[in-house]
């Protein structure tokens, strides 16, 4: 089994750089061959999570990671932070907008993983078209 390629982005807990995550996500998803609408979807989902992490960090020093694992079948994105209080970051999503967006745009989301190794993980899978289609 071939291991996925990994691209890692390390970011400070600052709102200034959330747009950088969108650019990176767009670049990776486009390179993988997702269509333009799906690229936009993934970009928004990633930005949602990053914004939530930065809010949860509330101005703390340090950095968090966004890990992009690229395979032929899917793009898996994992968010990692060493700060203990940054866990289950969507549990207080009162208006539900963030969760609704992420669930709509990603195929699989782990909002509150049991593992302490990461904050959240989400996956977008290439659609499989059966029959004689492309």
């Amino acid at each position: 089994m071939v291991s996925p390629d990994r691209i890692a982005l390390v970011l400070p807990y600052k709102a200034d750089y959330v747009s950088v995550t969108r650019l990176t996500t767009s670049g990776i998803a486009s390179r993988m061959g997702f269509d333009i609408e799906t690229v936009e979807d993934i970009k928004v989902a990633v930005s949602e999570v990053c914004s939530r992490i930065i809010n949860a960090a509330a101005g703390l020093d340090g950095s968090f990671e966004v890990l992009f694992d690229i395979s032929k079948e899917s793009l898996n994105i994992t968010f990692v932070s060493s700060i203990e209080k940054i866990r289950c970051i969507f549990k207080d999503d009162e208006d539900g907008l963030g969760i609704a967006i992420i669930n709509a745009f990603m195929d699989k989301v782990e909002f509150c993983p049991e593992s302490d190794n990461y904050i959240l993980s989400m996956t977008k899978t290439f659609e499989v078209i059966s029959g004689d289609g492309l």
Partner: protein
């Protein structure tokens, strides 16, 4: 760090208009909120927001729209969103906010 959001307002006889260009995210949200709420507070008319230049928004920005809508409704006024791009409209539909706003 340069701003990625440009906002402009116009006060007309029958409405106030806000023109958005750029991205509304956690970094530009406060700027957007300050401007939008200021226009709501400074006008007694309905509000029209021209979104033709808006190319990104997430839940942070949507929450500000909702807050502005609450303020205008309390004052018996409405908010209309004009020229929304398809990717932005999709967010309003997914979150159910398309049922709250007048969207053209």
């Amino acid at each position: 760090m340069s701003s990625e959001l440009i906002l402009r307002e116009e006060y007309l006889a029958d409405k106030a208009k806000v023109f958005i260009s750029g991205e509304i995210d956690i970094y530009t949200a406060q700027q957007f909120k300050d401007k939008l709420y200021s226009v709501v507070d400074n006008s007694s008319m309905d509000l029209v927001i021209d979104c033709s230049g808006l190319n990104y928004i997430d839940s942070t920005g949507l929450g500000i729209f909702v807050g502005a809508l609450k303020k205008t409704r309390l004052a018996g006024r409405s908010i209309q969103l004009d020229n929304i791009r398809e990717n932005i409209r999709k967010l309003f539909v997914i979150t159910g906010l398309d049922k709250l706003f007048i969207i053209n």
